[in-house]
């Protein structure tokens, strides 16, 4: 999978390319905004990792330019200026995610995979976290390499959690996805499905655990003990 790395620090580029290659990404690298504009316009990349502090311009200009052309490729903005006032601007300009330097290689890879896993993106068909996986099209749950059949709503809950693996999935997301716009959602309906899913996963020997973050949503994390 080909991604574009827009970063002017040669040393960092070499290390990131190596790390991305280990995660199965094939990375092209350019070192300034002009080259980035050119590369994005001529090649089709699965995702773009864009540094803000480029020698010739702000990386956000590159982002604005490609969005203006209608290019919807997912963009992960890297920044060294994670200031109070500039954090929001990046996302407002149409970035899909935002990562402040310094960051762990795993974090960059995880964020890229999350971007590509979004519906319509390249990794959208199969979601996995820990030893749990979901084939989105076949609606098949695979736990510890064994294919399981979960009820539809529990599977839908799992899909949301897998797409957000390691991060909190907000309550509202479950309400929208499970019940659409139709009818009232009982205040504990979601809790009921989550509870059932927990039991299904435990019985299947999953290495993940679903935590309730009261007032906010649910969080699937790999079980430290397992």
């Amino acid at each position: 999978m080909r991604v574009l790395l827009v970063e002017d620090n040669g040393e960092l580029v070499a290390l990131l390319k190596k790390g991305l290659a280990q995660a199965g990404f094939d990375a092209d690298a350019v070192g300034n905004a002009a080259d980035a504009d050119h590369a994005i316009a001529t090649m089709r990349y699965a995702a773009i990792v864009l540094d803000r502090g480029l020698p010739d311009d702000d990386g956000l200009k590159v982002l604005r330019e490609m969005r203006r052309r209608g290019d919807a490729a997912p963009v992960l903005v890297l920044t060294a200026r994670d200031g109070v006032s500039d954090r929001v601007t990046g996302l407002r300009e149409g970035a899909d995610d935002y990562l402040a330097k310094p960051f762990a290689m795993e974090e960059l890879v995880a964020r890229l995979q999350a971007l590509l896993r979004r519906p319509g993106n390249l990794l959208g068909k199969r979601l996995s976290f820990g030893n749990v996986a979901l084939d989105v099209e076949a609606r098949q749950v695979i736990v510890a390499s064994v294919v399981r059949s979960f009820p539809a709503r529990e599977t839908a809950v799992l899909e949301i959690l897998l797409r957000r693996g390691g991060n909190v999935a907000p309550k509202r997301l479950f309400e929208d996805q499970l019940f659409g716009l139709s009818g009232d959602v009982g205040s504990n309906a979601i809790e009921v499905y989550v509870h059932r899913l927990r039991k299904l996963l435990d019985d299947a020997g999953a290495s993940v655990r679903i935590h309730t973050v009261r007032g906010v949503g649910y969080l699937m994390m790999e079980d430290k003990g397992g």
């Binding site: 990131l16 060294a80 994670d82 200031g83 109070v84 402040a100 310094p102 762990a104 935590h211 430290k224």
Partner: protein, 457 residues
Amino acid sequence: MSRFRSIISRVVVLHLVAIGVTSILMPLALYWLLNQAANGLLRDALLGQATTVASFLRPGPDGRLRLELPPDLKPLYSDGYGLYGYAVLDAAGKVLFSSRGDGAALFTPEEAARGDWVMRRRAAGSVLFGVSVARPVDERVYWIQVGQDLYHRDVIIDDIVSSFLPRVAWITFPILLVLLLIDIVIFRRALAPVREASTTAAAIGPMRTDIRLPQDTMPAEIAPLVDAVNQAFDRLEAGLQAQRDFTADMAHELRTPLAILRARVDTLEPSALRDELRRDLANMTRTVNQVLDIAELEAFVVPDDACADLQAVCVDVVTFMAPLAVAQSRTIALTGSDLPVWVRGHPEALFRAVRNLVENALRHAPVDGLVDVEVTAPGSVRVLDDGPGVPDAERQSIFRRFWRRDRTSAESRGLGLAIVARVAETHGGSVSVDNRPGGGAAFTLSLQPAAGPPAAS
């Protein structure tokens, strides 16, 4: 003058002093001038009388001088009338003729020699005013003295002078007072732009450095001061901008090498050393981030119309911190209002404040402990933990920069709560800490309630 701080009060005080002095001096001066004028008129009249008397001096056939006053003039100088008198002296000072019964001169020759007019106080208390004129008759010089007794005040010019003070002089006082009122009105009008500029200047602070004082409407005397103040504001704004630029540059210069270091450590084979390096790097990154936050917040400005949904901010913080909390075997929850809680503020700055409170709470909560983020209208958030709480003596100092209870601990740099305090300060809010009845600390961040965003957005 320091007791009278306003220009108007200084004008009033100085003006009152001026009124006092003027209302005494001006009538006195006028009285003196009028007296001078009256005396001048009197002297001219007496000189005329002296000339008239002189015109009736004739050399007699015996060589002696004779005075032949017409009958209509005689009563004027009679003792019975008592108002006027005359005497004619020869050059030696011998009295030749006198209207007085005792035949004496009106003035002694010494007195008369002092000028062509003199004043003399008589024993009876009346005042004699007179002139002495030299006239040649038949080639000999005689002195004609004419006097008027001012004790009989029937001269109209004298009456004007003597009644001037009580009847006319008092009018100067109200006139001066009216002038004072007019002056106050004039000054107030002239100073109106200065007062407006003062109001504008009061709004300028570290929060609003873009305002400048109006220069066009300013009186010319004050324009240089206003100009100087505006230039000072320009320098202040440039200074703040320079600090912002410096912070941004410093962020880049510090974080890029950290990013390289972090990426390089990530390429190492799994080992205890790699994990230790990662931990060290994480601590260092945290400190760098906090120092950069502190530096940025020094020059941070919250626009007056900025508003943030504190409830949404807390949702973001809990969402952001939950994975870390779970990884550390702590539970985190959001309670309180489900509805937006609008406050005046910058969402990202508030996010950092609440995040720092949660990080602090997570550090002090025991394993399997609970950190509760509670949002309440009209604009406060409480972060509760079930840790050891904060001793009374430390409730102020924990918000100071680089303050640490345990100086040997490498984990906390003591900047997190200082950031919270600074964010509260930039938002016109406050942060405080209490101990919960059941144990644990309760940090309260209070902000100014706001009306929420305009309906259009």
